[in-house]
Symmetry: C2
Subunit: 156 residues, 2 copies
DNA sequence: CGCCATTTGATACTTAGCTATCTATTGATT
DNA sequence: AATCAATAGATAGCTAAGTATCAAATGGCG
């Protein structure tokens, strides 16, 4: 063996590696704020969603499955940053709300993610960024992972 | 709030999502072969490296830290697909070797990763793929994740 | 009305990544 | 030669993803 990987062959590998590096960089910077790990992602998406979003909607926006979100919310609720409310209309659902305490944390998250983005993307042309985003979109479509705009996905 | 995410803002989020989808797709297809989770990545890299690669070299190639590789190798060794040998030259190092049993497994891994790649990249132009790869490279450089060429990292 | 499929969120368990730390070995410096 | 810093791999403990499963609530249909 030992044949060198040709370009396309590296695509998946590189994609995974770069994604891990990116996330690790943000985590590293936010870790100094007590804001450990990826709860920042949940908060960020929550702040973008219309108020009274349900857990289901939030999970879909973040791009994770139910149980993953449940645990993130457990932590955020314990830290007093969010609260879950049972709505009278449908007692199965719980709407998730940012508490006032989350505001400064969110500011910090926005500043940090923006800073990382600015630093990393500064080397790239607008065209390069646009191409990558288009490619991400196409791949996500193909793999059934389009987070917004629920098309009826026929799985099988 | 509720302002829509503008393009660049989505970059990091999309990157993470697409990477997870890609990996999940391969995992899903390989899971039916008893070959669970990401041990396939380790095997694949091992097959590309010169014989008698050490764990350190393998970890670097795969893009993970030592402990992560240790566990993957533990599983692969228990399954009889690889073996670790202590070399006489330096008794700290262990060279990792593919066993004969790994050959059909590797074939399956190569076929599956190639199939996923072909399906997903079929929609993309050669130029798009090339641009993405170039971007991945630049980002990895910036984040210090260049797999080879260990720079001294000053942590603090 | 009463039963059953669907939906929502929660729980248990598994895998995989990380950092921090440990042990054994090596090799340089005194 | 003895000591001490550096290196290779292993271990422990954390966080976060996933699937499978459960319980409660809802809503349609006989």
């Amino acid at each position: 063996m030992t044949k060198p990987l040709h370009d396309q062959e590296q695509f998946g590998l590189r994609l995974g590696l770069v994604a891990r590096l990116w996330r690790a960089e943000i985590d590293r910077r936010l870790a100094t704020f007590g804001l450990t790990e990826s709860r920042w992602l949940t908060l960020l998406h929550l702040s973008r969603l219309p108020q009274a979003a349900t857990q289901r909607e939030l999970a879909e926006a973040v791009g994770v499955r139910g149980p993953t979100l449940v645990r993130a919310l457990d932590r955020l609720e314990a830290e007093g940053l969010i609260e879950r409310r049972t709505e009278a209309a449908d007692r199965r659902t719980k709407s998730v709300h940012l508490r006032a305490e989350a505001a400064p944390v969110l500011e910090r998250i926005e500043a940090t993610t923006a800073a990382v983005r600015a630093e990393i993307l500064s080397d790239l042309s607008h065209a390069e960024v646009a191409t990558c985003l288009k490619v991400f979109e196409k791949i996500a479509d193909k793999l059934g992972g389009t987070p917004r705009a629920m098309q009826p996905v026929d799985k099988n």
